[in-house]
């Protein structure tokens, strides 16, 4: 038990929590922004996977990690637009569009990977680049805190900065107000002259950008190669994190950190020879516990203010 505690309270553990949280956080924010405008983006997994590949290919082609990131983001935007056009203009069910994107991404990335690298498993043959890790000047010198907070990938800092930016967007700008109104009641929004379709287009594009940064992090930060299906369900875990995060950016940061911590815990406990099957269950069990706690809290709150359902 001491060994477990020593592991959990070590700097390297907390460092890995932040590293594991990054892709989930970015995707959960992408889910949040669309959810607040009343559209459900379940194609996050697929968008992340395509962006991960686009980043690797572009960074290898242009010998620039930043151009790689930009191409990853463009990919995300294109998918956001495809979703928006199919769902909003053509009135396709957005859930089905999301499923189609996820299915297409899994096979499509392998198809593209094979066309470029002649390999259906991974991008080992491409000399792709990674985004730099950043050492924060002052904080990095603080003994324990520095080794936890400093030295992460640039995209990790962008992820946590995005929490603030999305909060700013949602609560401090006219656009944010419109997004929330559209999400609450699109008919009312339309009646006061808000262009609902335009707002939903905007959120799907923002969502595409956030998810694509998450995808780029997988192949250009966390790892330095693309491999098939490497997102491995993080786009779906993000949907759970979004549900758990009470619909606010800060709440989502909290829930994403819980998922990251559960993942890190599962990783480290395995090394300490606790049965694998038990350990691999932890993140999922924690999700259920989290959802229960959330609904209990919400029920109490609703009782307090006299709303009964």
């Amino acid at each position: 038990m001491n060994a477990v505690m020593a592991t959990i309270f070590s700097a390297s553990f907390l460092f890995s929590v932040i590293r594991l949280t990054t892709p989930i956080l970015l995707a959960a924010l992408a889910a949040l922004i669309t959810d607040r405008a009343g559209v459900m983006n379940i194609g996050l997994e697929g968008i992340m996977l395509c962006s991960a590949l686009a980043g690797v290919v572009a960074s290898a082609a242009f010998h620039s990690a930043f151009l790689g990131l930009i191409f990853a983001i463009i990919t995300g935007v294109v998918f956001g637009l495809i979703m928006a056009y199919s769902a909003l203009n053509l009135k396709a069910d957005i859930i089905l569009v999301g499923i189609a994107i996820n299915l297409m991404a899994s096979g499509g990335t392998i198809f593209v990977l094979y066309s470029i690298c002649g390999d259906k498993g991974n991008s080992t043959s491409l000399k792709s680049l990674t985004m730099p890790s950043i050492n924060i000047p002052v904080i990095g010198n603080i003994p324990v805190l520095g080794s936890i907070l400093s030295g992460h990938n640039l995209l990790t800092y962008i992820a946590f900065l995005s929490v603030f930016l999305i909060w700013l967007l949602l609560y401090k700008t006219p656009l944010g107000l419109r997004i929330r109104v559209v999400g609450e009641n699109p008919n009312a929004a339309e009646s006061v002259g808000i262009n609902v379709r335009k707002i939903q287009y905007i959120v799907l594009i923002i969502s595409g950008v956030l998810a694509s940064i998450g995808g780029a992090y997988m192949s250009m930060g966390y790892m330095d190669k693309f491999s098939r299906d490497m997102v491995a369900g993080r786009g779906f875990i993000a949907l759970a994190a979004e549900a758990l995060g009470t619909g606010t950016p800060v709440g989502i940061m909290g829930s994403s950190l819980i998922f990251g911590a559960a993942d890190a815990l599962a990783t480290n406990l395995q090394v300490l020879n606790i049965p694998v099957q038990f350990v691999q269950m932890i993140p999922y069990a924690l999700t259920i516990v989290g959802l229960i706690v959330y609904s209990v809290m919400r029920n109490r709150k609703e009782k307090k203010i006299g709303i009964s359902k």
């Binding site: 890995s16 594991l20 396709a92 299915l103 899994s106 002649g118 000399k127 299906d229 490497m230 395995q270």
Partner: protein, 374 residues
């Protein structure tokens, strides 16, 4: 108009889904050395006749390991035995496997049909019973021969525990901390068979060796595999054996980042990284190989000679050159290589019997794990 739009959106989605489907169905016609007219006819394999072989893979090429090795086997059959071969990728879509296998069985041109992995064994047993005149070979698994079934199927199983024994020897001799790592894909009997050999091999050269053991839980999550690797390195492991297919890239990445050694699996992974990423190739100590190519070529050669033992399963190991270690890292000393070769000889001669996970209970495997627990 509205219906038209709906139709259009439905078509759009159908087109996107189709991309997914299309990536799968490609089949690769292996280069034939014979003119088209002289391909062999149907019927049982008479001795000396050039055979027409179909290899059906329940996955896609490009794994740089298992399936690629089978495709290489097709090339070997053509150049060494003069066979006509066709490699068909059935993709990972399980619903396509039985139809593809049935199609191949219906085709009178194929003399022998080769499939692989445990996922195919039950399906093959069903189909083989329906086509008693066809001949089948399955690698890395065995069909159920009880009650005299499957008399037209030859099964190849690999003694992966033997090559991982050697990996354990090489790892334990290289480790400075006396702690090794093992990252498996999923906990199943084949992966644990690797583990049993690894533990025994490591203990053979260092009785006090400690081994950290983790499982990714799947064969695709590279990031999680890397995380497990970093955790093991934090706990002191300095040589890590990965048996996790594509997820194993994460193990290689983690070891390269921390300047530790990794032992690859299934194919020579140092060669795969040589040109694109020499730094990573440098972190690969060696690789434990299953030579699918050699084993299926050997089987087809025997079939051509009319001596292949259909209706039986054979376990091929070091003695048959069907498993072994790949190229060594340049930092591996001659002493270590000699020691590994010495153990390989002992296994071949039978003076060392390597532990297997097959036929072992969960508690016996757990006991083996416990014996190297730090």
């Amino acid at each position: 108009m509205k219906i038209g739009k709906r139709l259009l959106s439905a078509l759009l989605i159908a087109a996107m889904s189709l991309t997914f489907a299309l990536t799968g169905c490609s089949s690769q016609e292996a280069k034939s050395e014979e003119p088209a007219g002289s391909t062999s006819q149907s019927g049982s394999a008479a001795s000396g006749k050039k055979l027409n072989v179909a290899i059906l893979l329940n996955g896609t090429l490009g794994d740089k390991a298992f399936f690629d090795s089978a495709a290489n086997g097709a090339k070997m059959m053509e150049s060494e035995l003069g066979c006509t071969t066709k490699v068909i990728e059935m993709t990972a879509d399980e619903t396509k496997w039985v139809p593809a296998l049935t199609d191949a069985s219906e085709n009178p041109d194929y003399d022998i049909i080769i499939v692989g992995t445990w996922q195919m064994s039950e399906k093959l047993a069903q189909i083989a019973a329906q086509y008693p005149d066809k001949k089948y070979i399955i690698f890395d698994s065995s069909v159920d021969y009880t009650d005299g079934k499957c008399s037209n199927v030859y099964s190849i199983e690999y003694k992966q525990n033997e090559c991982s024994f050697l990996a354990g020897v090489a790892g334990a001799l290289t480790s400075k901390t006396g702690k090794l790592g093992f990252v498996g894909g999923m906990e199943n009997t084949v992966i644990n068979d690797f583990l049993m050999g690894y533990i025994q091999g490591a203990k053979a050269v260092n009785p006090n060796i400690k081994i950290l053991i983790s499982y990714v839980g799947n064969f695709t999550d590279t990031a999680h595999a890397k995380e497990l690797t970093l955790a093991q390195i934090n706990q002191g492991a300095d040589v890590i054996f990965q048996v996790a297919s594509n997820a194993g890239l994460g193990v290689i990445d983690g070891c390269a980042a921390k300047g530790k050694y990794v032992i690859g699996v299934d194919s020579d992974q140092a060669l795969a990284f040589q040109s694109s990423d020499p730094a990573k190739a440098q972190s690969i100590l060696t690789s434990a190989l299953k030579r699918v190519d050699i084993s299926i070529t050997k089987a087809v050669k025997e079939a051509q000679a009319g001596t292949l033992k259909y209706g039986q399963s054979e376990s091929l190991g070091l003695a048959d050159d069907c498993v072994g270690l790949g190229t060594y890292n340049k930092n591996v000393t001659k002493d270590v290589q000699d020691k590994v070769a010495e153990y390989a000889e002992k296994i071949k001669s039978g003076s060392i019997k390597v532990d297997s996970a097959f036929g072992k209970s969960t508690s016996e495997i757990e006991a083996a794990r416990k014996s190297v627990r730090p």
